[in-house]
Symmetry: C2
């Protein structure tokens, strides 16, 4: 018969699946001989049976009886005994901590009868009735869904108990249960049920936590920090979770219960103000825990009449800076090795360290606080409409109650976005993250009006300057100086690794990652300047040069000539004029990369993207404002207008339809190659869906290489960005020297939505519904798009075992996606210059994570 | 050592791979004891070696020596012997006949010396010199690429020989070869080389013929039909290839060579005008050939001084009507069984029989002739511009030199399209086929001007009426009566199967197909009327009802209300007004289908498709023509404008974002179901890419079914039209009662091009380059999109073995695609009503073809 209940002495920290995180850690502390109040755990297996059958397993009641009796024996008290009652806490605890689940009911076992016993044994009547009041309140809310109990600190707790019991009866239609065992069973069932609250379900969908894990229930004898002056409660960290510096760190509150600390109602004091003997014992315990967990530990404890009790421990959360610092300190202290240190940091954390930030020394009190929805630091004048943002000549922060698709132009024009409503999945948050724009959402203390917003007494008017911190969610009045991240300065070579302890740690971990990683990291760069910076950031080549930027700015008239050409001669002349300009652009990048490989993508977007928009031209011509040239242009734009330009005449299609276009580009590449000795260009064909397309371009390119007198031909490869290219990769490999995944287009076409059109319209709703856990444009969707990637790698390599394969979509710099590319066997990832260090770190982590596991 | 040369006695008709079609059939005739001039065949293997190494296999020369000697011995003459020369023909012949390849060189062996011998032995000097002239001409053109020889029927052939030899020298820089064996070897090499002419390469790409098959070369002793009055040449068919009627059929030309018949220079006579004994012998041979090939045979023969020689035979080409009639006749005659008969017809042939056609009795001489690029019969007034076509109030035919994307509106507005330039892959042809519009291309005898076109002496002006036949490519002046196809009348039930012999044959074959097929055939129908017609055509249900048509016409204001609604109440009111209208539409279809299943797709296109276009509104408002409502609409259209609506807020996304929209539709379906007893609705969710989307819609639909009091819930399934849906079909199957492939969207997204945008821009070029053999919107691309289909079927059924799977894209009515869907294990295909019989026939053929092979 399955065993469903475990005593603390029967578990250890490895049993999180079965006992939940909290429960497993309690067992571990018991195993280490630490003072933990006795108790037992109902396993996640029991929960799974309950969720399946709608009732607990038959044998559970007897098992709980047995363990409860043992607990009563060890405490010398009986649950809810009117004379000398044992009280217990009931807590949920799954493998992963999960918002939306019922958390805790304290003081289970108190009844009208036993409260008298507690008063007697504690010698503190107010304490006993206050404990009973707390039980009715917590039990009412979390077990029976009573919406709220009016709070009144001044009232006599005995009166509050009477009032709360009435409220309980009103809402539930029954009396507050007076059978202690019934209280315990109802609390247990409520914990099980809370697995399926809507919020918990959505959270699991978003975080890809399996829906069938279930939660465990810990039942622990109550100890009280609010019994006397030599009682108290506190939290502690074995290192500073904010900086990572060595030395213990925590808060203590005398004569209080844990929830008082969390609620922040009273001011806490330093740990050394707790009873001296307890503090000494706590320090010893902390050291024991660190050696056992080999990491920063986060502890909750209670002192009852001078006796220290450990209520909870876990590996502690920490800031990004602390993560890097602690990992390196633990290596120095001989506790972990470098591989393990690398497992404990992450690219996401490194990215946080790279954003510009507000100068810490100068930071005033925040004006308001919201959700840090898209990181960074932004300063600007307040505007309240998209139009004002677009019209502004100086940096602005767009402030809205919430944003909608109409606000897109304004969001693009702003330094940052601040909203008073919505969370991490709101329209503003999703769009801002997509744009890499600083955003604070849901700062609900501000009231947004037409031309001002109000926070309490303060009114902020259009044109006033504010500063917003997209990492912490803080909003400040006035301009706060923004300073570059020291980590970026280090990557840029303007400070060295010893300049700052954090940088020292980052440097050490980056070196280790570079030492172990198999994936190479390249960059996406369109200019020599970008390429040079990326090389300083560690790029081992350019994985994507987009050639279309060379068609913008003062070269626009040349494109107009090309588009409006009515004869092959005119077309030829336009292309001839572009050739030397393109040659120079390529030569600049080759020089900047000093012999590293540079992949150049032939022109991808449709040509009409370089002409003015249809609506603008049509209105100009209709109102008589346009001249003859505008009319001619309008004709061309109408002719070339596409319903769905993303799915239109672009990429290789354009190259095969407009004679000489690709050929001009290939010639410019070949000539630039001849101009820059040692350069390593690779020619990449975009949007190939069929091997025949690639063959056609390849043979034209070969003819040009022969014509330019090349002895060794430059490699010609293809983007794999059209789903069909992935599906026929085995055919395409025959004509390709390399593959480079364009995961952005692959995602757009594979899912059938265009990023421009949908991020603002339904992504927020989809994230809310949990249809996505994360936007598939941020992190590669493994099940769908990833399947195309794996298939193309496998079938391409089956044909050409040495086929070089990389990725140059934006996913190339996303931590989770980098791991996927590593395990899929790619040779390199390519990403924007700023993401290069993140990709390097994650490429290293991908190797060491395959060899072990991490708590991070 | 590989054998490269085969005597005719060494082969048979099964060896087409090795000996080519022509060669294998010559061997077969020898095997049957028929009078074939002796000869031998150089195999395709020799060609493959030649193409690989750039020279013939080493042993080939000796083998040819040996077979040539044997040939000389059997003929008692030596190749090019000045006294009594043996002459041979040299012909190419691959497994598949292929335009663009070198075809034939006759009279090889004639030289300045041997022409004298031929004159002597034939006793006909003019004949001998004329034969020599023909050799220089054919050899010059096809072996040495001399562009042309001036033709002069009146001139003395001896003079022509002198003139042609000069032209030969001028163009090739050498004298016409006087070594007969050199002539033979050069001709052989030229045949090998012609495998790789550009036209042949493109043809192979288009027809998906492997590039490495190579061609065989037949070398046959010449016999002459132009030697005397009792000589002659002819072609014959064992049945009428035009009607399929029994009885031999052919043409004979006395004192002539084969090329004269083909060139049509002289008028042929009936076969019974040939020498009586030869005619009798030919009749016997025909009967032998039919029993052997078990099909209509097409024969080329020559009579040399009263002796009949068979030069070629093959299974003969025939019209669509003949195909059906012959197949049934052969069954009646006990020569083949019904399965074989079914193999010999095709859905493509049936489609030809279903187009409306010109009344045969009344057809005048055609005015001009071009390529039948898109079948059907169209009559209308001539217009020369797209604008005139759009403006016309009566049926028009758009006449253009060639079309380009600017002409699209005019093509849509016309009954048919006529161009003077371009072939089956021209812009006009591709677009017209896509639209199902009658089109004749490349009628190069017409000269298109600004407001008239000229053919010879005739001038046709704007407004004159013409008739064009898109099947035959013929153009007629004036109106020719168009009559409905008897086959369609039969399907419609207005005539019965005995009314017409062709219809009798079609009926018999359709019944057999219905008897053997496994695939069910449904129809796409949006109205009760369509559904009723499709049921008469044999549809076994509706596979796709698009609900969006119900949002058009006089219901447009309701959609505007929905889109412009600023509150949930207004939105609700708009939806409430739509509910009864939708319910009626659904009930109509349910009634028409009389209990057969009807799949209804929830709304798919983005809502702004129901509003006026942005450019139009913007100009209206900018010029002050618009009213307040237009301004409000413009605001909405701008807000909802999408860069790529195909990849935007549509389908299930719309359903999840606009509250109540899908719910209203589901309620209308459920209520219509309750209203029509015995109806079988199936609810289909469009554009699903992730199982979570389907789960969300499914649970909302279930709630409505419960609310409406349904005991048995209606099935809820999903389109598989987003590539990711196919890639995650195993997940999606958990939430789906059925799958229906939307192969149009699957093709668009899988290839990354939108049909609307690209058919007119680059498809013509792609077909020309052979990148496509056929548009992937016509015939499903098996390698790419088909792979997604197979994968989704396999993984969906792995989860739910009984999962019902169909297809409702336009491919559901394409013959080749139907075979693919059969072998992929689908349960049904669904197509437009007119395509239903085609799909039924092909679904049957798919079964019998799996059991045998056909020559069709």
């Amino acid at each position: 018969m399955t065993k469903y209940v475990y005593d603390f002495s029967e578990g250890h920290k490895g049993l999180k699946d079965l006992l939940g995180g909290k429960g497993a850690n309690l067992c571990e502390m018991v195993r280490l001989g630490l003072p933990v109040p006795p108790g037992f755990i109902i396993s996640t297996e029991a929960c799974r049976v309950y969720l399946r059958d709608g009732k607990p397993p038959v044998s559970l009641e007897a098992e709980v009886d047995e363990h409860l009796s043992a607990l009563e024996r060890s405490m010398g008290r009986k649950l809810g005994d009117p004379a000398n009652p044992l009280l217990v806490s009931v807590r949920s605890g799954g493998k992963f901590s999960m918002p939306g689940m019922m958390e805790t009911v304290l003081n289970v076992g108190l009844t009208d009868a036993s409260v008298v016993g507690l008063a007697a044994t504690s010698g503190n009547e107010r304490f006993a009735w206050d404990s009973y009041r707390r039980l009715i309140q917590m039990f009412g809310k979390t077990v029976c869904g009573v919406p709220s109990f009016p709070h009144d600190d001044k009232a006599d707790p005995r009166e509050l108990v009477t009032r709360y019991k009435e409220i309980f009866r009103e809402h539930t239609g029954r009396d507050f249960p007076q059978d202690p065992r019934e209280q315990l069973d109802m609390a247990t069932a409520a914990v099980f049920d809370s697995w399926n609250t809507e919020r918990a379900i959505i959270y699991r969908r978003q975080e890809r936590i399996p829906a069938d894990l279930g939660t465990a229930v810990s039942i622990v004898a109550m100890v009280f920090g609010n019994l006397s002056a030599d009682s108290g409660t506190g939290v502690a960290f074995t290192r500073d979770p904010s900086t990572g510096h060595r030395g213990i760190y925590g808060d203590y509150l005398a004569n209080a219960q844990g929830e008082d600390v969390v609620a922040g109602i009273r001011n806490t004091v330093q740990l050394d103000k707790m009873p001296a003997q307890c503090f000494a014992e706590l320090k010893t315990i902390m050291s024991t825990l660190e050696s056992n967990y080999r990491d920063l530990c986060d502890i909750e404890f209670t002192v009852e009449r001078g006796k220290l009790w450990m209520l909870q421990t876990r590996v502690g959360k920490r800031t990004a800076a602390a993560a890097f610092t602690i990992a390196c300190h633990l290596v120095e202290e001989g506790i972990i090795d470098m591989d393990e240190a690398l497992r404990r940091v992450s690219g996401g954390r490194l990215a946080q360290l790279m954003f510009p930030r507000f100068d810490d020394s100068e930071r005033p009190e925040p004006l308001a606080s919201g959700v840090g929805a898209s990181p960074g630091a932004a300063v600007g004048k307040v505007v309240f409409t998209s139009a004002a943002a677009v019209a502004a000549k100086q940096p602005v922060i767009l402030v809205r109650r919430e944003t909608n698709p109409d606000d897109l132009p304004g969001m693009i024009a702003s330094q940052g976005i601040l909203t008073s409503r919505g969370g991490k999945t709101s329209h503003a948050a999703v769009v801002a993250r997509g744009m890499g724009k600083t955003c604070v959402c849901g700062a609900d203390s501000i009231v947004v009006g037409e031309d001002s917003f109000v926070v309490g007494e303060t009114t902020v008017r259009e044109g006033d300057v504010i500063s917003i911190d997209g990492t912490t969610g803080k909003v400040y009045l006035g301009e706060i100086p923004v300073s570059a991240s020291p980590v970026v300065q280090y990557f840029d070579g303007t400070i060295d690794a010893e300049a700052d302890p954090l940088v020292t740690a980052v440097d050490k971990l980056m070196r280790h990652a570079d030492g172990v990683r198999r994936l190479k990291v390249r960059t996406n760069a369109d200019t020599g300047e970008d390429a040079a910076r990326a090389r300083r950031f560690g790029a081992q080549g350019v994985g994507l040069t987009r050639t279309e930027h060379m068609f913008l700015g003062d070269r626009r008239p040349l494109i107009e000539r090309l588009v409006l050409a009515t004869s092959a001669t005119e077309q030829r002349a336009a292309l001839d004029a572009l050739l030397p300009l393109q040659r120079k652009d390529f030569a600049d990048i080759f020089r900047a990369m000093q012999g590293l490989p540079v992949t150049i993508r032939l022109i991808d977007p449709p040509l009409h993207e370089f002409l003015p928009p249809l609506e603008e031209l049509a209105v100009k011509v209709a109102t008589g404002e346009g001249d003859e040239h505008d009319k001619e242009l309008l004709g061309a734009v109408r002719r070339m207008h596409e319903q769905n330009p993303m799915l239109g005449l672009r990429g290789v299609r354009l190259g095969l339809v407009i004679p000489g276009l690709f050929e001009m580009q290939v010639r410019a590449i070949v000539q630039a190659y001849l101009e820059v000795p040692g350069s390593q260009p690779e020619i990449m064909v975009p949007l190939v869906g069929a091997v025949q397309e690639l063959e056609a371009v390849r043979s034209a390119a070969t003819a040009i290489m022969v014509d330019e007198g090349l002895e060794h031909h430059l490699p010609v490869g293809t983007m794999i960005e059209v789903p069909r290219a992935a599906l026929t990769a085995g055919q395409i490999a025959h004509a390709a020297d390399f593959f480079s995944f364009g995961t952005n287009d692959l995602t757009q076409m594979g899912w059938g939505f265009s990023r421009d059109d949908v991020e603002g319209t339904f992504f927020a709703r989809y994230l809310e519904l949990g249809i996505f856990g994360v936007s598939p444009f941020e992190t590669l969707d493994r099940d769908g798009i990833g399947r195309l990637v794996r298939l193309a790698v496998d079938e391409g390599r089956a044909v050409k075992p040495d086929l070089k394969i990389g990725v140059c979509g934006e996913h190339g710099g996303d931590p989770e996606s980098v791991h996927f590319f590593h395990t899929s066997g790619l040779d390199y990832v390519s990403c924007s210059p700023f993401r290069v260090p993140i990709a390097r770190l994650e490429a290293g982590r991908a190797v060491v994570l395959a060899d072990g596991t991490s708590d991070e």
